[in-house]
Amino acid sequence: MANPYFNKLSPTRRHIIIVSVLLTVLAQIVLLTIGLSYVNNINHSVQDKRETNVSNQFHKNTLTQLGELSNLMQLLQSPDFSDFFKSSMNVRDVLTVTQQKNDLLSKLNDLHLSTKMVQRIYFIGSDMNQLSFSKDTDRTTLTELPNLRMDMLQENNMDQVFLKDNNRLTRYSQNDFEYIAMGDQLDMNNERAELYSFINGLNNKLVISNGNVNGVLVIMELNNDLFRSGLPDVYSGAYQFSILNHKDELIWSSADQQELADNNTQTKCQKCVELKKELSPYPYRVVFKQTSDFVLFSKKSIFSAFIALSCLTALVTFLISYFYTKKIFYPYLVLTKKMQNQARSDELILKYISDEWIKKGINSLTLRTKLIMIFAIAVIIPTLSDGFLYSQVLNQAVQNQMEETVHEVGEFMNVSILNRMDFMNQLINQLSVSRQLQGYLTTQQDSSGSFRNIKSTINLSMFPGLNEANYFVLFDSSGQSFYSSIFSNNPDMFTIEKDYLADTDAPYWISGYTDVFNHTTPAIIKRINYWHKGSITQSYLLLVPRDSFLTEVGPMESTVGIKDLQGKPIYSFQPYSTKQLNSLLWSGQIPDTQWQLSIEYSYEDIVLKNSQYYYRLLLIIVLILILSIVISFILASFLLKPLEMLKRKMMIVGEGDFSQMMSYSGKNEIGEIIRSHNYMVQRLNGVIHENMKIMEENANNKLRENELLSLKTLAELKMLQAQINPHFLYNTLEAINMRSMKNGNSEISLIIGSLAEMFRYSVNNGVGKVPLAMELSHVQNYISIQQIRFGEQFIYELEVPEHLTHIAVVKFILQPIVENCLKHGLSGFEEGGIIRIKVLDKDKLLFIEVSDNGIGMDKDKVIQVNGEILNSLENQNNGYENHGGIGLSNVYHRLHLFYKEQVTMKVYSSPMKGTTVTISFPLSQE
């Protein structure tokens, strides 16, 4: 029972408060962990969502740009643009060259290329018979390259560089042209200078070329920051976008250009998310990096909020348990006090303790229930408060984050839409300058009047990028359609309000246009001016983009709508049939347009995740509760162990067993009660023990007295049977003795005197102990009589040390043994018999040895006699007396009455070798 743990875990107030505060803290830690992981998780899913959206948008925008680029490259290689460089313009007459050059220039200018995309285009002819030009996008003129030709590049091994990278975005460095052995082959200085300036012009520029696969080398020097137009002006600094080309070289990065130069390969990405996405069908990859973790709101602040909350709840728990335990322990305090009072007062008057006070309120519950209750409270308070905090704070955070996200989505989508619109602008520009369209316009004008019957088509099926358009229609200036790329036999199907035909040469978008399939769709119109018969004629080209024109740029899980400023719907895209429950609205004007973009961004999945987490949190709360109850049970049973023990012990004591002591060292209320109890029991026990001892002694004395008395009575009875009154006999014998002495008969006098002494010894002095000398004198009297009777038959020897003569011995123990010697041992002896009594002390025992040199006994007889000695008196009495066994047995039993098991009596004998009887018993000086 002396388990130290039990002792330490006693249900003191301090312990209970500590345990409940600890439980609170524990629950806090568990919840904090869960809460933080939840924050992380939500963070991650929001982050993922943003990541996906942002990277998708950029990916799509980049694809749009690449498509635009590829279309432009195809267009530049088409006969419209490249024939000029294959037509030996360097050897043709000036008039033709000038005319065709102007034609080319106006076509190039009509493309309205943006410097954001292309900065310069090189057209390089194959040899000196051809011309080479470069055209800067921001300038309206062509720059002639007098010496730069393919064969010159070939001689300098540069053709392979472009061929290898044909139609691949590349960023050339000086190294790429390093091995080019310039010099001896270039004998003219200006040739060399031109080549150098060409190479230097390309150095570290984003470049794409056709590799001279069709006789003209077209090189486009692109805006180094071309892909930035796939991004809004402002976006999170945590994002980094890069593009790798087919050689895995970094050709663009949203990070600053210095960084691009420094880490031409790959920037390291520790602790950041990296996504790679193929830009199929182009051989590039977008690398999206997120340099730092987004935080819903500072983890630190969450953490400190949680710490503060933990402290608060711990304090609350402390206060609650403090007052609660005070209430719980009130009865125990009272009990302890009363018991202490009881124990310390020396009165043995027991007072009842009134049980009135345990009847009311909370105290009617068992201590176990109370403990469980307090522990449960210690857990529930933080759990509930934390749960509440999470739901509040995190919901707010998610909301904030989603707002930010949807804002970001909107910004990115604006850019995407602008990019797509730009694509269409490009397309309509390109289309309007195409030879096929121009040719058609001219010829239809020629056959004016009857053109409606001519159903010639414009063969533009291979026109780069036209697959992005649903169809296109040509209207004359009155809004009358005269050509359509679909349903060309029925141009009347295509109508347009005259309002839509604006007086501008730049392409413009119209809203509220209903296409031939009765869809409302955005459409783009460009006025085309062309010379015909000396005058400028105008028609309008209407291009209807493919349905997926904007669908593709729409972010996932959102409803997108575009309206013009008058609220006329331009475009709407709703991926869901039903309205989303959890969605955020965002709207903003698309820059540089009259369009208003609105996005209904669903964050259903986040909400779902959120609620999943709530359920999980709820489950965890329940689990914690169950666990806390279990822990409470365990703790309570530990704490209640001393009380249980006390209760059990008290019940045992109540049943009268006072030997039960409790060992308990706890210095607390229970310890007080136990100690008081122990003290009380101890005292009770002491009193009872004393009484018991006295009673036992009394009973023993009484018992011995009774027995001796009964023996004496028996002897007296026997004497009465002999019809002799001892006193009468004694007096008679005294009278005879007197008479004999008077008569001088000394022998008779001796006999009678001895006999009288013997009688007197028998009658007087009770049945107790006498000094050994007296007992020996009684034996002497007997011997004297027997010697007179039997003459010289035996001699009597006595060997007793002087100091032993005063030893108190039981009366009548020797004479019966000596009598046995005469009766049995020496029977038949005429003379020479010896009877010897030897007394000695050893080990606080008195040894008395009575021996004769008589006939002795055989072995069986010895055993029998020894057995008889130990037999009960009753058996002896009822048995025969011949053996004298009764005498020995009588002696033994009387000794036994006094000395109990400490007495021994033994007979040793063998035939003709005499018999020895030894008695030993403790020495008692009386």
Partner: protein, 462 residues
């Protein structure tokens, strides 16, 4: 059936001819030789798994049915056809991933491929072949022999799938009638002077517009290198030194020949750079009945037989013998002779030969001969050339005559693969009157010898 068969051929053969004319401008600067291997994924597994032979040949030149037929008969070999793409091939040769069998033109490409060590010597395969007999070869096959210096002798590196005597003249009798010009003889060749005079007569203008052209080369109404070389062959003039280390375009015979076309361009005899006719090639104008004389080979009969419009009046078309140079001897060489070599670096020479033997000597060869799209490489197949119609018979008769003169080959310097480009580049200013022919030839000489020097250095440093 012929119709379907013909269409892709028109394209392929015309481009083939075109390619032969244009030359491989890009390959000259290719510093790499064929480290080519034919390692295909399946090829590495030898036993059990079939070996894949990669066959560089146009779609239509070898059909899926033919491949299937072969694979059924030879289950251990798979044929993987690969498109003809000179740029890609150059890259493959450079990186050692070239196909096992490579399509080339015998006249232009073979010496270069031999010198670059790409072509495998097939002599011993042919010697032991039961399908292909050396004795059965027509003389034009020798264009696939090269001894390092002279084409036509030395080990055999390949076989043409078919060939044509490419300098014959196809005429349109109707246009002769329009111009009131008598039809030249079908047995006696014209001289080149006569040819160009006739062309001049046949060219009809209506103001600024040309309503009828007189003469065109395979590509355009301009000179090209095969034309020049055929002229010189007829003259018996060789431009390159014996070791092909130098070339001399300043020889008077060169000027003689080229002057014909300089005048021809000036006189707008055919579609050319100056008049910027949109026609892609001479055949287009001829088929449109706008060109009276078209210098091209026997294979063109196949095109005429297949053309929807032309086949309705085949008898208007006549093939005339190849002209001879003034003061020259009669020759009728092939200008291209498309065939193939086996890549020396092939991992499966025996399987590649098996495919080669089948395609160039087996049933496909016979099928080709019967189609009339070219002259077979084997004497025994000459008989199966179409001879049913009057057109067939007439053409066949002229062909028989021409073949007698097809044993000589036009000169092609193996180090000057882009000679045609160089020539055209220098002739252009002459056509436009911006340079004289003499100056052009001096410039050409300079360009050509520089390239030969470089190419030779590269080849010898290997």
């Amino acid at each position: 059936m012929k119709k379907n068969f013909a269409k892709p051929f028109v394209l392929i053969l015309s481009t083939a001819l075109f390619l032969s004319a244009c030359g491989n401008a890009k390959t000259t600067t290719d510093n790499n030789t064929a480290g080519g291997t034919s390692a295909s994924p399946a090829a590495s597994a030898n036993n059990g798994a079939p070996v894949t032979v990669r066959f560089n040949m146009g779609d239509g030149e070898i059909t899926k049915d033919q491949i299937k037929e072969f694979e059924t008969a030879n289950p251990t070999i798979k044929i993987q056809r690969e498109d003809v793409d000179t740029t890609k091939l150059a890259a493959q040769l450079a990186t050692g991933e070239a196909p096992d069998i490579i399509r080339i033109t015998g006249v232009n490409d073979l010496p270069s491929y031999v010198i670059r060590g790409i072509a495998m010597d097939l002599t011993k395969y042919i010697d032991t072949s039961t399908v292909i007999k050396k004795d059965d070869f027509v003389s034009a096959v020798n264009v696939y022999r090269f001894d390092g210096k002279v084409q036509g002798q030395g080990p055999i590196y390949g076989i043409p799938k078919d060939f044509s005597s490419d300098f014959t003249i196809w005429i349109n009798k109707k246009l002769f009638a329009t111009a009131g010009v008598p039809i030249p003889s079908e047995t006696v060749p014209m001289t080149y002077s006569q040819l160009f005079e006739t062309a001049k007569k046949l060219t009809i203008k209506n103001g600024d517009t040309i309503t009828q052209y007189g003469l065109s080369e395979g590509g355009k109404g301009e000179a090209d290198l095969p034309f020049l070389m055929e002229y010189l062959l007829s003259k018996g003039v060789r431009l390159s030194t014996d070791d092909n280390g130098k070339i001399d375009f300043t020889k008077p015979e060169v000027k003689q020949a080229l002057q014909l076309w300089v005048d021809g361009v000036k006189g707008n005899y055919g579609p050319n750079l100056v008049n910027q006719d949109k026609a892609g090639w001479g055949g287009e104008v001829f088929l449109a009945d706008k060109l009276a004389m078209y210098q091209t080979g026997y294979w063109f009969s196949g095109l005429l037989r297949g053309d929807e419009k032309a086949k309705t009046h085949l008898d208007d078309y006549v093939m005339l013998p190849a002209p001879v140079a003034d003061g020259g001897t009669r020759v009728s060489p092939t200008g291209s002779a498309t065939g193939a070599i086996i890549n020396k670096a092939t991992k499966h020479p025996n399987e590649a030969w098996k495919v080669y033997e089948w395609f160039f000597g087996g049933k496909p060869a016979e099928d080709r001969a019967k189609s009339g799209w070219g002259v077979p490489a084997y004497k025994h197949l000459l008989a199966v050339i179409p001879q049913e119609t009057a057109f067939d018979k007439k053409t066949y008769a002229v062909l028989q005559d021409e073949l007698k003169y097809s044993g000589k080959f036009i000169e092609m310097n193996p180090y000057l693969l882009n000679g045609d480009t160089l020539l055209k580049k220098q002739l252009t200013p002459v056509y436009f009157g911006k340079a004289t022919l003499d100056d052009a030839m001096i410039a050409l000489n300079k360009d050509a010898n520089k390239i030969i020097d470089e190419a030779k250095n590269v080849a010898s440093s290997k």
